[in-house]
Symmetry: C2
Subunit: 284 residues, 2 copies
C-alpha cells in the first residue's frame, strides 16, 4: 500500500495507472474510518484493479460554526484499516496543497442542494461538489463508491457527474448499521454513553414510518413525519433539525406518497448532529 | 476525419484513444472558423497525436439580450476548414444533448470574472467555465489551446484548471490579426463595410498605448486609458464598453504600471461588440 501526500503525486500515479490499462476504484472519506467506509472499499475492489481511498477533512464543506476543528482524526488507525482492507493507495493531502490561497473556482449544484442538509448547512454542498470534482481529476477513477447514508450528497454527486459529464461511474453503497440500527458515522464518536442509546431512535423512527407505509397503507406524509418526530423525541436529549419526505429524484417535498420517495432526517442528540434516510414507495 | 454528434460518442472515443496511449489535443470553438482558430489547431497538432475540435455555440454563455440566435453558423464551411487543417475529430453536439432539462450543476469562477467582460456580461464566464469543464470531461484532452484574444477567458480557464485540478495542460495561442490589426473574430462578420474600417482603431489604440509605455516611459494608467479612448472614438460609430489596465494575474485595476499588466478593451462598433487586449510591463 502506498500513501501519497500531494495532489501532483496522486495525479501522476493515476495517469500512470490509467496508461497501464488499470481500472481505478475510488472511495472519498474524511477518515476516522468505520465499517461503513470499509464496505465501500469492498465495493470499489469488486469493480476495479486498483483501489484508492482519500482521507481529507475538507475545510470547504464546513461552516465557520461547525465541527471542523474537533472532527475526529486518527491516521495511524485509518492506515491500518486500509491495509487490512486491501487498499492500494491512500491519498492523504494537506489542505494547503488542495486549496491555493487565491482559489476562486467552485462547483455548485443549485437545485437538489437547496433543501434538507443544504438548507441547514449553507455552502456545504458547494464545498462537497468542489472537492469531489478535484478528487475525481486527481484520482481519475473509473468507478467511485459513495454511501447511501449521505443520501442527499449521493444524489448531488450523481447529478454533478451527469451535468459535468465526468467520466466516472457512481456506485451506491448501502448504509452499514450498528446492532441497534444506528447508521455508522465518524460523528458517532462524539456521543456520550447516554446519547448513544438515544441515537438508535432515528432508525427506529424510520422503520416505523416504513411499516406505516407498507402495513397500514399510509400515504399521507404529514402523518408519517409526525410519527417520526414523536419516536425521535422519546430521546430526552434529541432535537429535530428536519424530518422530510421528498421525491427521490428531485428532492422536492411530497404530500402523498405516490412515487419513490426519500425519507430524510437530521437530529441533534445533545450537540451531535446525526442524519439518516430510507427510500419508500415506487420501484427501486 | 470523424464527426461525432453526441457526448456519449465523444467520451467513448476519447476513452479509446487514451487507452491506446494517444495524446489528445483540443480546441474549443463556437464555429464560423477563421485563421485564428486554425492557428490554435496547428498548435494543438504540435502537442498531440489526435486533434479534436468542438463546434458548439453554447447557449449557457449568452445572456437573453445577446446574439445567440444570430451568431454566425456555417458547418459545411467549418468542416472543410477542419479537414484542410488536418483535424482528426470534430465534436459537433446539439444543445439538447449537452444540457439536461433539469441541469443544475455549474462551475463558477468568482474573482477574475467579476471585472472586464464579466462585469458587462453577467453569467457569461459561468457559462464558459461550465461548458469547458464538460468538454474537458468529454474530450479528455492532454492539451487544450485557447486564444489570447479572449484574454480574460484564457486566464479564467487557466484558473479553473488549477483550482479543480483538471489533468489538462493549457497552451496560449497568440492573437491572429487582419492586415489593419483587427483581431480575428467570428463576430467581425457582423460589421458593415464602414464599421469594418473603424474596427481597426482598437489595435491602433493598443499600439499607441504600448508606445506611450515603451518610448515615453508613461506609467500612469489613467493617461494611457484616456489616449486609448481618444483613438477609438475617432470612429464615428464606436462606443466604449470598457478600457481597463489590470494586473495580468489578478485582473485587479492598476494605477501605475509597475508589474506585468493587461490592457483590455471592449468597444461597440455600431451594434457589434469587439474585444482586444495587449500585455505590457514586467517579464512575460
Amino acid at each position: 500500500m502506498n500513501i501519497l501526500r500531494t495532489p501532483a503525486d496522486m495525479q501522476q500515479r493515476a495517469r500512470e495507472l490509467r496508461a497501464a490499462g488499470k481500472r481505478i476504484g475510488f472511495v472519498a472519506t474524511m477518515g476516522y474510518l468505520h465499517e461503513g467506509h470499509l464496505s465501500l472499499m469492498r465495493l470499489a475492489r469488486k469493480e476495479s484493479d486498483v483501489v484508492v481511498v482519500s482521507i481529507f477533512v475538507n475545510p470547504a464543506q464546513f461552516a465557520p460554526n461547525e465541527d471542523l476543528d474537533k472532527y475526529p482524526r486518527d491516521f495511524a488507525r485509518d492506515e491500518a484499516l486500509c491495509r487490512q482492507a486491501g487498499v492500494d493507495i491512500i491519498f492523504y493531502p494537506e489542505a494547503r496543497d488542495m486549496y491555493a490561497p487565491d482559489a476562486s473556482v467552485y462547483v455548485a449544484e443549485e437545485s437538489l442542494s437547496r433543501v434538507l442538509c443544504g438548507a441547514s448547512r449553507p455552502g456545504h454542498f458547494r464545498g462537497v461538489c468542489t472537492v469531489v470534482a478535484k478528487l475525481f481529476n486527481l484520482v481519475l477513477p473509473d468507478v467511485a463508491v459513495f454511501g447511501e447514508k449521505d443520501g442527499q450528497q449521493l444524489r448531488i454527486i450523481e447529478r454533478m457527474v451527469r451535468d459535468l459529464n465526468f467520466p466516472v461511474r457512481i456506485v451506491r453503497g448501502p448504509t452499514v448499521r450498528e446492532p441497534d440500527g444506528l447508521a455508522m458515522s465518524s460523528r458517532n464518536a462524539y456521543l456520550s454513553r447516554d446519547e448513544r442509546k438515544q441515537a438508535g431512535l432515528l432508525k427506529r423512527a424510520l422503520d416505523k414510518a416504513a411499516l406505516m407505509y407498507s402495513e397500514l397503507d399510509m400515504r399521507d406524509t404529514k402523518k408519517i413525519k409526525e410519527s417520526i418526530v414523536k419516536v425521535v423525541l422519546h430521546g430526552p436529549d434529541a432535537r429535530v433539525d428536519y424530518v422530510e419526505i421528498v421525491d427521490d429524484r428531485t428532492l422536492e417535498p411530497v404530500e402523498t406518497i405516490d412515487r419513490r420517495c426519500l425519507i430524510a432526517l437530521a437530529v441533534y442528540v445533545g450537540k451531535t448532529r446525526l442524519i439518516d434516510n430510507l427510500v419508500i414507495g415506487g420501484a427501486r
